[in-house]
């Protein structure tokens, strides 16, 4: 199971106004593994995720998906591949079309990729997935704003999983959620990932979540990779000072005298 699914080398992304956001990033993800991409705001982690999905143009470097070079693949050829590369978004309120019903949001992708030939088959698949993500069937006729935050996030997960992709990018998907909702969503995600044999890239600023979910981790800062490695290694023996900084900044839910006074973060310049 060590076959490389995604292999990105030397990724550079420059925005239209000339600002370079990624300075030569190398990332590889094997089949079945969950990789964490952690960084603060401005680290480029979100841009890296979108570059991997070919949602932003890459100004230099190459991306190989399942052995195929997709770096500059025209959109027409990219589209059939898209079923295999899916994404779950941070804000499900924004990533679900407010004017569509949940049924439509979940059914249309299935029809597009021909994963269900008849209406009955579509219904059945959607119903099964709803049950898998613990959403009540009445949700189908509702609009996104009528569901709770946790429920919306589960719709987002269901939408991605329904297409049975090879790879899923989870972009800060639990950032706005309560601890208990977060735990539910992550448990669901881990379960689905195991069932479907998914590879995942999990973007987050929260190292604690990454530790609990990912096998390997990339630490990003200012558009570059500061450190990478197996989670166990990186967390136990962080090599980069920045990684140590990130770890040190997390308050654990047990009283640690002196934590507050120990070496703090970078002095924020004005």
């Amino acid at each position: 199971m060590n076959e490389t699914l995604i292999d990105a080398t030397g990724i550079e992304v420059t925005y239209g106004n000339g600002i370079k956001v990624l300075h030569g990033v190398d990332v590889s993800i094997c089949r079945g593994e969950t990789v964490g991409i952690v960084g603060e705001s401005g680290s480029g982690k979100t841009t890296l995720g979108r570059a991997l999905l070919r949602l932003v143009d890459v100004s230099a470097g190459s991306i190989r998906f399942d052995g195929r070079d997709i770096t500059r693949l025209p959109e027409g050829e990219m589209r059939p591949l898209r079923r295999r590369i899916q994404m779950i978004f941070q804000d499900p309120m924004a990533s679900l079309n407010p004017r569509h019903t949940i049924r439509r949001i979940l059914s249309e992708p299935l029809k597009l990729h021909g994963l269900a030939k008849t209406a009955a088959e579509t219904e059945a698949r959607v119903a099964k997935m709803l049950e898998r993500v613990s959403l009540p069937a009445v949700c189908l006729d509702r609009n996104p704003h009528e569901l709770s935050g946790g429920q919306r996030q589960r719709v987002g997960i269901a939408r991605a999983a329904l297409l049975e992709p090879d790879f899923v990018l989870a972009d800060e998907i639990v950032s706005g959620l309560d601890v208990s909702t977060q735990a539910q969503v992550l448990k669901l995600l881990k379960g689905l990932s195991a069932d479907l044999g998914l590879s995942m890239a999990f973007i987050s600023h929260d190292l604690s979540v990454i530790r609990a979910v990912c096998d390997r981790v990339y630490v990003m800062r200012f558009g570059k990779i500061e450190e990478e490695g197996a989670c166990a290694e990186v967390f136990a023996n962080p090599r980069s000072a920045y990684t140590r900084l990130l770890l040190d900044a997390i308050p654990l839910p047990e009283i640690t005298p002196g934590w507050l006074d120990s070496k703090a973060g970078v002095e924020d310049a004005a």
């Binding site: 079923r83 590369i85 407010p98 249309e108 613990s134 009540p136 009528e146 709770s148 208990s180 909702t181």
Partner: protein, 301 residues
């Protein structure tokens, strides 16, 4: 929905009525929609049933009955409720028939402008870049111009049938739609649900029409109504200037032009069509404004 017990995964969302029912109710409750819309509906009925409602033939001239005042004034002729013009034609009947021209132009011109403007706006808003720039200069230029004057040269085009009457207002009106749709499309295109649609693999056309357009449409509803009001005015201006049809077919603008010339002998020939024109445009404006008010808070949840 602040349902604090939503943590358990099986908490149900609240029951609700269909979106259409809610929108309809909101619209009808808004006085501007009810009054403005009601008036337009009335005009619509008048236009359709003009032959049955008009007491006289609008084209029939009778020089013996020229410039007679409306009912209630000295010298009024029974049967000619709003008087006659200098050629003896019944003012009331002409105004009623004039509704046909006005409303036809309103709907067709606004419809055309809406279709063209929306289509171009969607394309421009999505790309934002090259295609967008190609489409935008005309809207930019026409920002400062009232719709009348540019329409005039267009109105001078030959032909006195419907196409030549609806083309001028539509040809300027589309820019209004284009601008609004373009801005809305640009705003929506950067939203995550559009990105999600792209990751799923929907084609650009599908995304524009099935994902973005439904979210842009509410802004258009009010705009269409306003555009209809503008179209009516433009048509009136063209008929006033004589660039529209022959003076036989009754149009409000034409009546106003005529009435202006004999205003001292028969003020009603000017005042009646002017009042009706004013009321119609006001009704369209109010309808548009009311729709915007009624639909916005429902949408903005």
């Amino acid at each position: 929905m602040a349902d604090v017990t939503a943590s358990p995964p099986l908490a149900l969302p609240a029951p609700r009525r269909s979106a259409f029912a809610r929108h309809l109710k909101a619209m009808l409750r808004e006085p501007r929609v009810a009054i403005g819309g009601g008036f337009i509906l009335l005009l619509l009925l008048v236009a359709i049933f003009a032959p049955f409602l008009a007491p006289k033939d609008p084209l029939e001239q009778d020089l013996m009955l020229g410039t007679l005042p409306p009912a209630g004034y000295a010298g009024a002729e029974p049967g000619y409720w709003l008087g006659t013009d200098d050629l003896g034609r019944d003012v009331l009947s002409r105004v009623l028939y004039g509704t046909r021209v006005a409303l036809t132009v309103a709907f067709v011109a606004a419809g055309l402008a809406g279709l063209i403007g929306t289509a171009l706006g969607l394309i421009a808003g999505w790309d934002g870049g090259r295609a967008g720039r190609g489409i935008s200069p005309p809207p930019g230029i026409s920002v400062g111009l009232p719709p009348g004057p540019p329409s005039v040269p267009l109105g001078a085009l030959p032909g006195s049938r419907l196409p030549s009457r609806t083309a001028p207002p539509a040809s300027i009106g589309w820019t209004r739609f284009c601008r609004v749709v373009r801005a809305e499309t640009q705003a929506q295109a950067s939203m995550d649900y559009v990105v999600a649609a792209r990751t799923i693999g929907f084609s650009r056309l599908h995304i524009l029409l099935r994902e973005i357009l439904p979210n842009v449409a509410p802004a258009l509803i009010a705009l269409v109504s306003l555009e209809m009001g503008i179209a009516v005015i433009v048509e009136a201006i063209l008929s006033f200037v004589g660039l529209s049809v022959s003076s036989d077919t009754p149009t409000w603008g034409g009546m106003i032009a005529q009435g202006r010339q004999i205003v001292y002998q028969g003020w009603w020939v000017l005042v009646v069509p002017l009042t009706v024109l004013f009321a119609t445009v006001l009704a369209f404006n109010q309808l548009g404004d009311g729709l915007r008010r009624a639909l916005d808070p429902v949408m903005r949840r």
